[in-house]
Symmetry: C2
Subunit: 344 residues, 2 copies
């Protein structure tokens, strides 16, 4: 690690490897098993490195308060069930979703390669991270991946007056010849929950049309949304329909909780939604006589010709490249906090 | 058929069976094979019956001018390839996509039941209809279905200045206990192309933010959109990312044309996009210990409690029930036109 003087705020830099190791120590110190700690630390460090600040080290306080509350089992051992030639189910054992994906991943890849498509249905799981880190690695191996995860009641369905859905993101990744994978991760709400939390912390307003207060009235105040208010779906009835689809796939199909079903009131400090996650992986090598990655490149080249200046995922790759050269910049007080947590 | 005097415009009514038979005769008279005519007629009559007017008999003139132009093969015989335990590819032979789906459907259902999930990749196909009729029947058999189809360049990607994508709809269907299936079909553009055509014909304005004119300037004039202008994605960058995903899945993966690739300039009258279609079908019976349809019902009951007054697909079911009782109402001049076409 080295001190760096930024143009604006003072910051220190830390390498990805060092940050991962530091976060891993924190998770272990606070009750996670070695396996779970390694997966979550890598995930969180990846988000920080790639500039996804709402899912980076900002999330650590929530992870720790959740572990301390007894709401999640940081040492859960996922149970992988080989259900059919294209179907895997995992009981995450009230643990995190990422270790469940990690445990099932080799079988999922094998099934997708053999059957052409395979589905991974994770239930009884907590997802408190960005969704793109779950799909991007499949595209790096030449496969197409789609994932949905439901979260916690904070989004009012189109035409309704009270929240039912979670922010319910959809993530997609596909290989692209000569470029990093095409990856997007979108909340089906007008804003992601982490963005509302950051806006509240930093005193920013929300865009109009994104949220309502506790009385169901439109508001741009992030604190009013967090204090008994709710978010709206993106894109009106269409985003609302997609959010419903996420509930049906991530919870209805997997056997997880819907966003409105779990009750963490007896676990003060709990922040992780106890729901489910679905992944669908397709092997485009099955598309005979057609190199999918080359075709994807033709599409994005045409998009660039039409004036698209930044492709899905591109900002993350730029941040990643910069972090690989210069390290990951963190405010000194945040780094000090992380080191303190690592000591217990 | 019987004459009926409506409250507003005069209309005649025709039963679903009669309308299907009439449309079937029209397709055969204009060069479709008996198999293709039966599938397309059922599809088009279904849309008209269910109130999806932009994809009902309104589409017939476009079908006929396209067949007359030699752009599509109305007698194509789809070639079904059993690629893997969860993967089917179909070469539609420059014919319509619906007969290709029809030819592959029994194998698709069998694979989804056995593997838990299966994909159908249709290429070299034309899709000129609503997408929900393709997915709804799977949900009626207890399965979950997702489909995407790309169309023709008329949507400007977010951040671009010129169109690349088609209207690129996404359709989803899921069973729901004690209710008809939950079904949605959404263009990833702010409006569907058929809605723009109908607005132009009827002299209505488009909502703002939906389209641009031939100079890339925002417009609410449907004729300006149709005359060298373009549509915008719904929901800004999110809808745009979904539209890109549809191109990648419906064309890149299947081996079909992207929306910007085909050139129908030598076929005056051609209106059907020559692209591809992807369907993914999941058998929720694989979700052990969890009745998906019951769970879906719990979700929609909660949505109703929160104030949702009309579920996805519900308006179509209401129109369908009314048509089953009272027949399908058509303007006399439209019905006369159909009868004339049936005679050649």
């Amino acid at each position: 690690m080295s001190a760096a003087v930024g143009a604006n705020a003072p910051s220190e830099t830390i390498s990805f490897t060092e940050l991962s190791a530091l976060l891993e120590r924190i998770f272990v110190t606070h009750g996670a098993s070695a396996e779970v700690a390694a997966v979550l630390a890598h995930n969180c460090a990846t988000a920080q490195r790639d500039g996804a600040q709402s899912h980076g080290v900002f999330r650590m306080a929530g992870y720790l308060s959740t572990l301390a509350s007894g709401w999640v089992n940081g040492a859960a051992v996922p149970q992988v069930e080989d259900v059919a030639s294209g179907y895997i189910a995992v009981d995450a054992g009230n643990g995190f979703a990422q270790p469940a994906l990690s445990a099932a991943r080799p079988l999922l890849v094998r099934k997708a390669r053999e059957a052409g498509i395979a589905v991974l249905a994770i239930r009884n799981s907590h997802h408190f991270a960005a969704l793109w880190p779950d799909v991007e690695p499949f595209a790096e191996e030449g496969m197409i991946a789609l994932s949905v995860v439901n979260s916690m009641t904070c989004v009012v369905p189109h035409g309704a007056s009270r929240p039912v859905f979670g922010t319910n993101p959809i993530a997609f990744a596909a290989p692209c010849a000569g470029r990093p994978p095409l990856v997007f991760d979108m909340a089906t709400s007008a804003l992601a929950h982490g963005d509302v939390q950051i806006a509240a912390r930093e005193g920013h307003s929300l865009p109009s049309g994104a949220g309502v207060d506790r009385h169901g009235q439109p508001t741009t105040d992030p604190k009013a949304v967090l204090d008994g208010g709710a978010l709206l779906p993106f894109g009106g009835h269409k985003g609302s329909a997609l959010s419903m689809m996420v509930e049906l796939l991530a919870a209805g199909l997997t056997g997880g909780n819907f966003s409105f079903e779990f009750d963490w009131s007896r676990h003060p400090g709990a922040q992780t939604p106890w729901t489910g996650q679905l992944l669908i992986v397709i092997d485009p090598a099955r598309a005979a006589g057609n190199d999918f990655a080359e075709r994807a490149r033709e599409l994005v080249d045409r998009m660039a010709q039409a004036g698209v200046s930044r492709l899905a995922g591109e900002r993350r790759y730029q941040n990643r490249a910069q972090a690989q050269q210069q390290g990951i910049a963190l405010a000194p007080e945040h780094l000090a906090q992380l080191r303190q947590w690592a000591e217990g």
